[in-house]
């Protein structure tokens, strides 16, 4: 099936005189524009947008969509991203009138249903975290990290303590140091230990009275539970610091163990990962944070509070915590994503949440076992929801790199795992199958990887060979950035 249409850009398709939307004539008396707005403030002409009619826009984007791999169409084991199935019921329910059309400045009185939903979401997220104070405001996981670090900074400032350092292990997501730097902290990275876990001794050396926060992903980016987490927390708490849990991997532990119970003081969720957002081709996300009670007064406002009158009627209101750090964005939060997360949690309930985590763990360990002989994971023996295999053996023996395997998988109809992260594993392939995949798919995926490892290494450098494009030139893109459409000069 040939599809050449989608490779043309909207602006290439533009034909003067076409249009995709019409608006009615004004039903109010029309005044000359220059009598309403001084002409110095008016543009000479309309913006030079492309001119298209509706059917060609539809064909263009439907065809473009077919150039993507997605969870709906392919196995997408992108480690650390929790690419699980996004239930269709969420899409319909999040578009109900009363949800999709509520203005952010509507009076709370005409918005009680929405506020009740958000209040219930705060409660559920607090329970799953074991950390009772929740803000739904942050727009994504990295935004949640930054917000929590602002909260920590405000807390220490309030206590009159000068703490300048944020510590994290080498396997941390890049967002951890980036968020710490923007929040004004000095970053201290712990050297990796051989077993893939935080090295308690180097942690003890790094943590002192200047340490504000230790940021740790648990389970970590190798898919391993930091089994000394309570001891880690004790080190931090003894030094007066706080423990931040990066919740990117909550899909492994929800209902099984809770950050608040293993020593965390603050955490963020990625609602678009753990609670099926969806991922939206790169967002929007939603990154609520949950913190201990003593940090609650510093959360960004507003949050939803509940009150019950003497006659038993319950009302919900937006309030700002007493010592709030202020806002990290306009309005309440990424409601559209939070509503989907709410639908997910209400569908699963407590048993379903735990069952999802257990199947995520089962699937990851099964895939790890299937690959143990051909593409071993250096850390183990068991993992939680994901594991990191290394292609360094294949590279040494046959010249096949992690990137070659990733690109060739695309030819076989599988999205690639995350490659070259975390940095502590050479030739890393980070695989997170999630619970919403079948044994049959995992079997086929493992067989395919075994097959790829027997293929001609020179041919693999040319993979993928069946997709519309192959191995884009990133160096040229960066050297001579073309960041928008420009008209081609025709002879």
């Amino acid at each position: 099936m040939r599809n050449t249409i989608a490779t043309r850009l909207l602006s290439d398709l533009s034909t003067p005189g076409r249009r995709g939307a019409s608006y009615p004539a004004s039903d109010v008396p029309v005044e000359p524009l220059a009598s309403l707005i001084p002409s110095a403030f008016l543009a000479d002409a309309a913006p030079q947008l492309p001119e298209l009619c509706e059917p060609e826009i539809v064909r263009h984007y439907v065809n473009l969509s077919t150039l993507n791999m997605s969870v709906d169409t392919h196995f997408y084991p992108l480690g650390s991203c929790t690419m699980k199935y996004n239930p269709k019921r969420h899409e319909r329910l999040s578009r109900l009138p009363g949800i999709v059309d509520v203005h952010p400045y509507q009076a709370d009185g005409s918005n009680q249903g929405m506020l009740e939903l958000l209040y219930e979401m705060q409660q559920m997220l607090g329970e799953i975290a074991g950390l009772p104070a929740v803000s739904l405001q942050p727009a994504a996981g990295a935004h949640g990290e930054l917000t929590a670090l602002f909260v920590a900074a405000a807390y220490f400032r309030d206590k009159g303590e000068q703490r300048t350092k944020v510590v994290f292990p080498a396997s941390a997501h890049g967002t951890n140091p980036a968020s710490a730097a923007i929040a004004g902290f000095d970053c201290v990275e712990l050297a990796p230990a051989g077993n893939g876990l935080v090295d308690l001794e180097s942690l003890k050396r790094a943590v002192d009275q200047q340490t504000a926060v230790f940021m740790v992903t648990n389970p970590n980016t190798l898919g391993l539970f930091e089994r000394q987490i309570d001891e880690i927390a004790r080190v931090l708490h003894d030094a007066g610091g706080l423990v931040y849990i990066d919740g990117a991997n909550m899909n492994a532990i929800m209902g099984i163990t809770r950050p608040g119970d293993f020593g965390g003081d603050m955490m963020h969720y990625n609602v678009h990962k753990t609670f099926t957002g969806p991922h939206g081709a790169g967002g929007p996300g939603s990154g609520p944070i949950a913190v201990r009670d003593f940090l609650g007064p510093y959360l960004p406002g507003p949050i939803v509070t509940q009150s019950t009158a003497s006659d038993g009627t319950t009302t919900y209101a937006q309030t700002t915590p007493a010592k709030s750090i202020g806002r990290v964005r306009a309005h309440f939060g990424n409601i559209g994503i939070l509503v989907r997360g709410y639908c997910y949690l209400r569908t699963l309930g407590a048993a379903g949440v735990r069952a999802a985590a257990e199947d995520a763990i089962l699937n990851a360990n099964y895939l790890k076992a299937l690959l143990a002989d051909v593409l071993p994971a250096p850390h183990g023996p068991h993992c939680l929801h994901e594991f990191v295999a290394s292609a360094s053996g294949a590279l040494k023996d046959r010249g096949i790199s992690a990137m070659d395997i990733a690109k060739r998988l695309l030819d076989y109809g599988f999205h690639a795992p995350t490659v070259y992260f975390p940095l502590v594993v050479p030739e890393a392939l980070m695989m997170e199958p999630t619970e919403t995949e079948s044994k049959e798919t995992l079997d086929a995926f493992a067989e395919t990887i075994a097959k790829i490892l027997t293929e001609d290494p020179a041919e693999l450098k040319l993979a993928p060979q069946t997709l519309p494009v192959s191995r884009p030139n990133d160096v040229q893109a960066a050297r001579n950035p073309i960041l928008k459409w420009t008209p081609c000069v025709k002879d």
Binding site: A6, L10, S11, A21, Y23, V28, L33, I37, L42, A43, P47, Q48, E51, L52, V58, V62, S65, N68, V71, R89, G98, H103, Y105, N111, G113, L115, E127, L146, G174, T175, A178, A181, I229, I256, T257, H279, G282, P300, I325, G326, R327, V328, A330, N334, I335, L345, R346, G349, A350, V353, A356, I361, L362, L370, H382, H415, E435, P472, Q476, L483
Partner: protein, 450 residues
């Protein structure tokens, strides 16, 4: 659980292959003492039928723009959303994909975002647009941080006149630890007092932030403001209203260095404040200081045009604590909505929407003043939103609500606006009018308030 594949037999077979007898063995790496030995305290699970009933029950107790007549503004507006947007962004190939790390498997997303960047550049006449940030307020915060990187000045940023108070609050949160002074210069007659602005600029000022149309609706002389900023060696950051650019002079033509916006007007539903869309554009000389994702055009190994994530050396997954921003996830699906919106409207459509908003707002302002006795707070020119003065604004809102109309927000719900007297802020009420409002609706609102 409707979303799991594994049957009991398959689970047993998988455990056998792993070499353990139960999932509990796999969980042994979590110390027993740290495991939760009770079910989570969550509401009981719901079937799809029961879930729908629950959501409808909640939705029935919130009445939004579809069931009321919405004259609400303050940075979020009820504009008409063409049907193609929901249909196309509802394709699973778009919304169940993620960040296009594997370019070959993501050309749909990458090309769509390249088109987004192209259309936003056309809309603003700016050189470069990134692939979006979280929302309009956080876009201003990122612009402030970027101004500091460009100018090397970190101790002072100046908000000129009436910038959205929630944007100012966001910036304060982002810079509070830097020892950076956040100065707000006053309004005069509804727009920036340029003398006071000049006086506030020092050789340590990183940027001047101007919102036009401003929070009270007034159109600012952005060209003059950016000249003042540049004279002090500072950057000029404009927060704009994307629909207004169907009519108004565009940021790139006003000498602005960084132009940002809340992009909700471009085909994104109100949904109680989010997800919305942060637009972020700049001049080309600053591109390597830009936060967020950028899509670039290149060729593949066979010379075919294609698209990739570009200049990633600025980003957190490469540069870690030296990154230009901590942002990772952008607002992908919302950027796609905005792209389809702009493509559907085209140059004529966006001009027509802008003209309709402008004409209807001026008609409403005139009627409210003449018939309902609610005068404009200033004589400044405005686009689709304006502030009126009422002696008892809360009563006005209630009266409107009882008749099915929403107006506002009240200025009194926000932090003090620089240059507005306490009395003005207590008596001010915003009114926004979009192309969705009919003359009949405007007339009925005026009648109710008269």
């Amino acid at each position: 659980m409707p979303y799991l594949y594994n049957t009991a037999e398959q689970r047993t077979a998988m455990l056998d292959r792993i070499g353990v007898d139960s999932v509990a063995t796999l969980l042994e790496q979590i110390p027993q003492a740290l495991q939760l030995h009770r079910p989570l305290d969550l509401p009981a699970p719901l079937t799809e039928i029961a879930l729908e009933q629950r959501l409808r029950q909640l939705a029935d107790r919130s009445t939004g723009a579809a069931d009321r007549v919405c004259f609400l503004g303050g940075g979020a507006y009820e504009h008409f959303i063409p049907s193609v947007i929901d249909e196309l962004t509802g394709r699973g190939e778009f919304y169940t994909a993620y960040t296009p790390y594997q370019a070959e498997a993501s050309q749909g997303t990458l090309q769509a975002f390249f088109e987004f960047q192209s259309l936003i550049c056309e809309l603003t006449e700016m050189d470069v647009s990134n692939a979006s940030v979280y929302d309009g307020a956080s876009a201003i915060a990122e612009a402030v941080l970027m101004s500091m990187r460009v100018t090397g000045r970190k101790s002072r940023v100046v908000f000129a006149g009436a910038v959205h108070p929630e944007s100012i609050s966001t910036v304060r949160t982002y810079v509070q630890h830097l020892g950076c002074e956040v100065v707000c210069t006053p309004l005069s007659a509804g727009v920036i007092d340029r003398d006071q602005l000049s006086a506030a600029l020092t050789d340590q000022t990183a940027c001047v932030i101007v919102q036009s149309p401003n929070f009270l609706g007034g159109i600012e002389d952005v060209t003059a403001i950016s000249e003042l900023a540049h004279k002090a060696g500072a950057l000029c950051v404009q927060s704009f209203n994307p629909i207004s650019l169907g009519l108004l002079k565009r940021p790139g033509a006003c000498g602005v260095d960084i132009a940002v916006a809340e992009g909700q007007s471009l085909g994104i539903p109100l949904q109680f404040g989010g997800p919305y869309l942060g637009l972020f554009t700049c001049r080309s000389e600053h591109v390597r200081k830009l936060p967020g994702r950028l899509i670039g055009e290149t060729v593949d190994r066979q010379g075919k045009r294609c698209f990739v994530l570009n200049l990633q050396a600025r980003e957190q997954h490469i540069r870690r604590d030296k990154a230009t921003s901590n942002i990772c996830t952008n607002q992908g699906l919302m950027a796609l909505r905005a792209t389809i919106y702009l493509a559907t409207l085209g140059p004529q459509g966006i001009r027509e929407v802008a003209e309709l908003c402008c004409q209807k707002a001026h008609y409403a302002a005139k009627q409210l003043a003449q018939v309902a006795g609610l005068p404009l707070m200033s004589t400044a020119p405005f686009f689709q939103e304006f502030a009126v003065r009422c002696t008892d604004p809360a009563a006005v809102i209630t009266k409107a609500q009882q008749a099915g109309f929403d107006v506002g927000p009240l200025l009194s719900r926000f932090a003090p606006i620089s240059g507005l007297s306490v009395e003005d802020q207590a008596q001010g009420l915003l009114v926004a009018v979009t192309e969705c409002r009919s003359r009949d609706e405007i007339d009925r609102l005026v009648e109710v308030l008269a």
